[in-house]
Amino acid sequence: MEERTRTDLENLKKPNGSSVVSLLQEVQEKYNYLPEEILREIAKERDIPLIDIYSVATFYKAFSLAPKGKHKIVTCSGTACHVRGSEKVAREISRVLGIEPGYTTKDGLYSLENVNCLGACALAPLVVVDGKYHGNVTPAKALELFKMYTVHEKEEKEEAGCRCATAKELAK
């Protein structure tokens, strides 16, 4: 195993034995997903059956076993968003990206997620791109939001490195 993960693991080994869930939360936070070798390592160090860790990791929605894309797109499908048409919005985004919610595009750029309520229901329907909230989204607005985004991303790709802040103009 890499040196890097080793030291990380040292940090995760808390003396008073924090729970599996909180351990996994830390790993998730750090890597943005749960790498297999780390889960195996935790199982060994903590003497917890691997299957128990694996069960917990797949039970809760906050955990992901596959790496996430560079940009995280979250569509809300809470009740309030639903009655204001979030399903149509989600479907359009899904279609444009060519992936179902829960997956990441092949180029590793976008992850699409669908959550059951973001708690900002007054602004329904909601789409969150890289942590930025967009309220009252319609399918047409979503596409527009998207077009700007992809253009932006393409330009970025040509230059080296990523300065990809959320496209501010989209907020309007």
Binding site: L39, P49, L50, I51, Y54, T58, F59, L65
Partner: protein, 230 residues
């Protein structure tokens, strides 16, 4: 000792007895798919339902997990119980028709038609294998993953488990991985096939190890490759 009423009888049972155990002791038969005497109760199959309480406050609970309590009024075969049980069996047949255990149980309870769309799953997620592995084989090799309708039984990362000792305990206890009954054939009205229905894998497979997703036994029969999805 705990005093309770079971189908009108005043009975006494030891502390920590479950309603299912109490009923069994008094010779009342309650169907169960996820229960095994040697394993801890789990309450997943919901076939062991009984009605507790009376009047408007009565409700159904799974007898395998419900502890006997003083003064409890338990009825094991009320109309409400039978109705729920029959519909659940119909659902079982519609979901996992290949199991002989389920087929037998359904016919015993007079469930003859299936009004739901037919699925063909190999596992009913009763969790017997998981408990067998953990509690009797000290294996902890397999377990539940995901939740809700996506719930499955598998080994970690859907890979060959390092903990599994290939004891076959999981296959032994599984009520679902059995070959499907073909019905009586013309030339041989009594086929006796039921006698031989058992997981075929143990005979065929030296390296048999059941990840249950789908189970290797079924893979053998259908020639399908295991497909793991998240």
């Amino acid at each position: 000792m705990i005093n309770l009423t079971l189908n009108g009888m005043e009975i006494k049972v030891e502390k920590r007895t479950t309603l299912l155990e109490a009923a069994k002791f008094y010779g009342i038969e309650i169907p169960a798919l996820c229960y095994d005497e040697a394993l801890s109760p789990y309450g997943a199959c919901r076939l062991c339902l009984v009605e507790i309480g009376t009047g408007n406050h009565s409700r159904l609970v799974s007898s395998c997990t419900y502890p006997a309590r003083d003064g409890l009024i338990v009825r094991t075969h009320t109309e409400r119980v039978i109705k729920a049980r029959k519909l659940l069996l119909e659902l079982y047949l519609a979901t996992c028709p290949s199991s002989r255990t389920i087929q037998d149980m359904a016919s015993k309870h007079g469930v003859t038609t299936v009004r739901f769309k037919q699925k063909n799953e190999e596992c009913i997620l009763c969790g017997l294998c998981v408990r067998m592995c953990a509690e009797q084989m000290q294996g902890k090799a397999i377990g539940f993953v995901n939740r809700g309708i996506k719930r499955r039984i598998t080994a970690p990362f859907a890979k060959k488990s390092e903990e599994c000792r290939l004891c076959g305990g999981c296959m032994y206890i599984c009520p679902a991985c059995q070959a499907r009954c073909q019905g009586p054939q013309e030339e041989n009205p009594v086929c006796n096939a039921c006698l031989n229905l058992s997981p075929p894998c143990l005979d065929y497979f030296q390296e048999a190890m059941c990840y249950m997703d789908p189970c290797v036994a079924c893979e053998l029969g259908t020639g399908r490759k295991a497909k793991f999805t998240y």
